[in-house]
Symmetry: C2
Subunit: 201 residues, 2 copies
């Protein structure tokens, strides 16, 4: 049985049982937090025994790492693809539209990806921190390109890149199903705000 | 014994013991999350017995509510004071400088204030939700004033107000002691970015 939500979030995760466990963990972590969730909670919510969970993940932290790593890989792939092209302003518009809409649509998993980092074991945290640095770097390079073409007017590329990602990420905190405007329209309005930040309106 | 950090955060909370419990709860919630923290954890960290905690707070949720309510009251007072005056652009600059710097300096307590709302009992949540609406309203009115004076150029006042607060609040997620630029300088750079968002640079 493939859960459509988790198949959409994690198309490359196999088998379905691992994906079901990750989806159940997102719900449990969102409800009670990482520390108050047991492997039994996760397994039960996924319709499995705790022993069946250990076939796929050695620990609760390993489930969190799988959620966090795949979420950050997805973010990096998204901003990298959006930034391609020779018009930095158009690239930034695509990037913000997609990154903002993703945090609205997937706010539940995004909260786990963004807010439970400190529960990761150090080696896992290092993997995620590297993905975060590469994501910020894509945005920094895009801003620098736009400064070079004269489209953007920016004093502090690093702080501005961080602010743009931060603005989109925080959507996951306050967005709930049914919030207006919806994810696509919110992404467009945020892209306008960001182009204003960059002096490109 | 007055803890200087908690006296700064909660100057109006009396007696000191209540304030010490709130500070200990911030640490415990930050470390383990609300659900995995016991009243004993909080009392022990404050150097008290669980029975002594109940003299001041009827439950763990009541400590969370005290932290959340005072944090939101402080935020409302801060934005209201900053917005006063007849120059909306200057008011917005003050507001963002202070609100951003506060979330950098007090990132630890701000994370509890902003991320543990769903653990509040419904009646307590309603109090906090009202404070949040009033805070957003101050920013909406300030933007509308700036549109009227011709300083700001904004299509969607509600989404823009939310984005400005959101940008500042998310600082608490990624800021840690020692991050550069420091809180004051970060506030100034964020104010520049926000004035750009508003078409006022």
């Amino acid at each position: 049985m493939t859960d459509p939500l988790s198949a959409d979030l994690w198309p490359d995760v196999r088998p379905d049982a691992a994906r079901r466990l990750m989806a159940a963990a997102v719900d449990a972590f969102a409800e009670r937090g990482f520390h108050a969730t047991t492997t039994r909670d996760i397994a039960t919510a996924a319709g499995m025994s705790p022993a069946a969970l250990y076939v796929h993940f050695p620990s609760k932290a390993a489930v969190l790492f799988a959620i966090s790593r795949t979420g950050h890989e997805r973010a990096l792939a998204m901003v990298t693809a959006a930034a391609v092209g020779d018009d930095p302003a158009a690239g930034m518009r695509r990037l913000v539209e997609e990154f903002a809409a993703w945090h609205a649509t997937k706010h539940r998993v995004a909260r786990i990806v963004q807010y439970e980092l400190q529960a990761l074991p150090p080696a896992d945290y290092a993997v995620v921190a590297d993905l975060r640095r590469r994501t910020e770097r894509v945005v920094q390079v895009l801003i620098s390109d736009g400064v070079r073409t004269g489209q953007f007017h920016v004093d502090d590329v690093r702080t501005t890149a961080r602010a743009i990602l931060s603005l989109c990420i925080d959507i996951a905190r306050w967005y709930t199903t049914g919030t207006r405007p919806g994810p696509g329209e919110l992404g467009k309005r945020y892209a306008d705000l960001v182009l204003g930040m960059l002096g490109a309106r």
